[in-house]
């Protein structure tokens, strides 16, 4: 098995916040903590987009690199989890994370931070699987029940995909190709050029488009 990943299709996300609500309900997440958020770009402008963001379970996770007590670990499936018994709530991971995934419950009157809480890819934590202790600290362990994260599984437009990275990228690639073939999308998908670069002199790149000539040396790959 490859690594577990999330993928949000910005062409489909309708900013319903269903994923956020489902996550909070599934894991009994406390007030003030959002393991998943929907981010809107260019709000109210033409070309407005919304993407659902949570922990992206990085292969080379910066939170793991900066943690002073080394409470993070990668599971066999590539999910980034942490041990709340070790966490000291210092907040370094919050500053390191490019997605703002780590969350800190406010437990005191003077802004005291609690132990870090974040998306677990519905994989629980180091406590015994499906135990009450695991649920109390990390939420439900759906992966051990043979289920994918609830945010993706309940997404009404299937904008949010979760699972084996190879499988969901195949699903997304097929989707983009079908859009281009049906003429519903003339250009490359939103973010495609940012992610994969645009060949010099080529107006359109991406699946379904006319192949662009190979860029000269020094071009982005």
């Amino acid at each position: 098995m490859a690594r577990m990943k999330f993928l949000c299709d910005a062409e489909r996300c309708i900013e319903c916040n269903g994923c956020v609500t489902a996550c909070k309900q599934e894991h009994d997440v406390p007030w003030g903590v959002n393991r998943r958020r929907v981010v809107t770009l260019n709000d109210g402008q033409p070309g407005q987009r919304a993407i659902s963001v949570a922990c992206m379970h990085c292969s080379d996770a910066p939170c793991m690199a900066v943690c002073p007590v080394d409470c993070f670990y990668h599971t066999e499936e590539g999910v980034v989890l942490h041990d709340k018994d070790l966490c000291i709530g210092c907040g370094y991971c919050f500053y390191a994370c490019p997605f703002g995934a780590p969350q800190f419950p406010q437990q005191g009157a003077f802004g005291v931070r609690g132990k870090m809480d974040k998306c677990t890819f519905c994989a629980g934590g180091p406590e015994k699987d499906q135990s009450p202790e695991e649920f109390a600290k990390y939420g439900r362990n759906r992966l051990s029940e043979g289920k994918l994260p609830v945010c993706a599984e309940m997404c009404s437009t299937k904008a949010l995909l979760a699972g084996d990275g190879n499988v969901i990228s195949d699903i997304y690639r097929n989707r983009v190709t079908m859009r281009a073939a049906r003429g519903t999308k003339s250009g490359p998908p939103w973010g495609w050029d940012t992610a994969y670069g645009q060949a010099q002199g080529a107006a359109v790149t991406g699946p379904g488009a006319t192949p662009a000539p190979a860029p000269a040396s020094g071009g982005k790959s």
Binding site: M1, D70, T75, E76, N141, G146, A152, E153, I171
Partner: protein, 73 residues
Amino acid sequence: MKSLAVVAVAAVVALGLAACSERPQVVNYKQGTYQGKPDTPPYQNPPYNGDKAAWERAMATRAQNQNEYKRTN
């Protein structure tokens, strides 16, 4: 009197050595390695009971449920 002195000496020795039995309270820290409790793989418990192949099949099926092109075409 002599027995009282013996008891007193024993008490002093016991109190004096009490700290020697304390467990070290400082974590044996190895920088860069995970320091927490070990985790078990998701297929270790019921309903899969260690059958990794069955768990992977279930995950692959669930993942394909997200592909509505496959469901409708």
